[in-house]
Subunit: 189 residues, 2 copies
DNA sequence: ACAAATAACTAACAACTGTTAGTTTAAGAA
DNA sequence: TTCTTAAACTAACAGTTGTTAGTTATTTGT
């Protein structure tokens, strides 16, 4: 059974997503949970704290996933497909906290912000290297890797918002179409 | 010469982009402009007002552009290229207010929010139709038009954030690469 | 130069923010 | 039962928010 702390974090994530971090008050969260704002502090120690946890947990999930995929011995183009599949999975499993990564990270306090951007930069760098490798392998036509990275990443980052609008879409099907759309376009013919 | 009202709107846009609508106070804006918060009200009538103007002006620019392109007699695939070129141009010319369209529109009051989402939905519908037409024309392979739309649009919507990070990129070059990345991938081989 | 209008200022408002202190209730162990 | 602990409550804090009122300074047209 879920701890109260986690219930609070879930509610907060949902509200942060819907109204944004700044526009969500502790009283809003309290109401959603079903208690008074002050009572929240029996379980958490600040608004920033849960926000940081939501964001950095998610960022670390991505980092771990990347580490595992990039560390594998697959061909780069397979790594890329696995990355896409991971993004699709996360977008479905963690719709709320994933939205914070794309939109709300600016509201992190100084130190966690540094950690976050560092994780993020590292992630992007590894992602770009995989794309470069795809080109060197001759699997991709010689596109600008930075632009390809940007194009792929922005699509993947908005997945969550789009997925929650579509009702009748099969996750497996979505993943397949996604790979088709993002990878096959760059393929060498 | 720029009116004070427009200076205020420019500063506001810059701050809204950097810190978000809710996190930007009238005192923040005032400081940026170089006057007291109360003095702003000699030129504007509320925080929401300038926010709405920034957002809806931008939305209307897109609608007009779409109307012009879609109303032309070009082949659909040419229309698509023109749309991409428009997005690139806007992302460069209006970096600040364009960011609001992707991120901050949630903070619109009820009625302008309705207008905004209506414009947006209409825009997306026309965009999707052009993609469908590309498929019917045989210029695109038979992808899921909804997924293609989503993929292209999310890339185009994040252009601004990415463009402001890159220093040494030629707009013309960017546009060419963009079209290559987004369109050529879907092309029938 | 003088009147009128424009745009800056200071001070203050009511509402709301995150958070703390202190108190009461409920639950579990002895 | 009684003692202890966890978790809810109410009340209030100090700071910030958007905005208004009232006043002073500056610019403009005659």
């Amino acid at each position: 059974m879920k701890s109260k702390r986690e219930i609070i974090k879930d509610c907060a994530a949902r509200l942060f997503r819907k109204k944004g971090y700044k526009a969500t008050s502790m009283r809003d969260i309290a109401q959603e949970v079903g208690m008074e704002a002050a009572s929240l502090y029996n379980h958490i120690s600040s608004k920033q704290e849960i926000f940081q946890e939501l964001l950095l947990n998610m960022a670390r999930l991505f980092t771990e996933g990347m580490e595992e995929i990039d560390g594998s011995s697959h061909k780069s183009i397979i790594k890329l497909e696995k990355l896409i599949s991971m993004h699709v999975r996360f977008a479905i499993e963690h719709t709320d906290s994933i939205s914070l990564i794309t939109n709300e990270w600016v509201h992190l306090d100084e130190e966690p912000l540094r950690e976050f951007t560092s994780l993020r930069d590292q992630y992007e760098k590894q992602f770009e290297n995989i794309i470069k490798q795809c080109i060197e392998d001759g699997d991709f036509s010689p596109v600008d890797p930075e632009i390809a990275l940007f194009s792929i990443l922005s699509t993947l980052r908005w997945l969550y918002s789009w997925y929650s609008k579509q009702k009748n879409i099969n996750p497996v099907e979505l993943e397949k179409e996604m790979i088709h759309c993002l990878v096959d376009g760059l393929r060498n013919k």
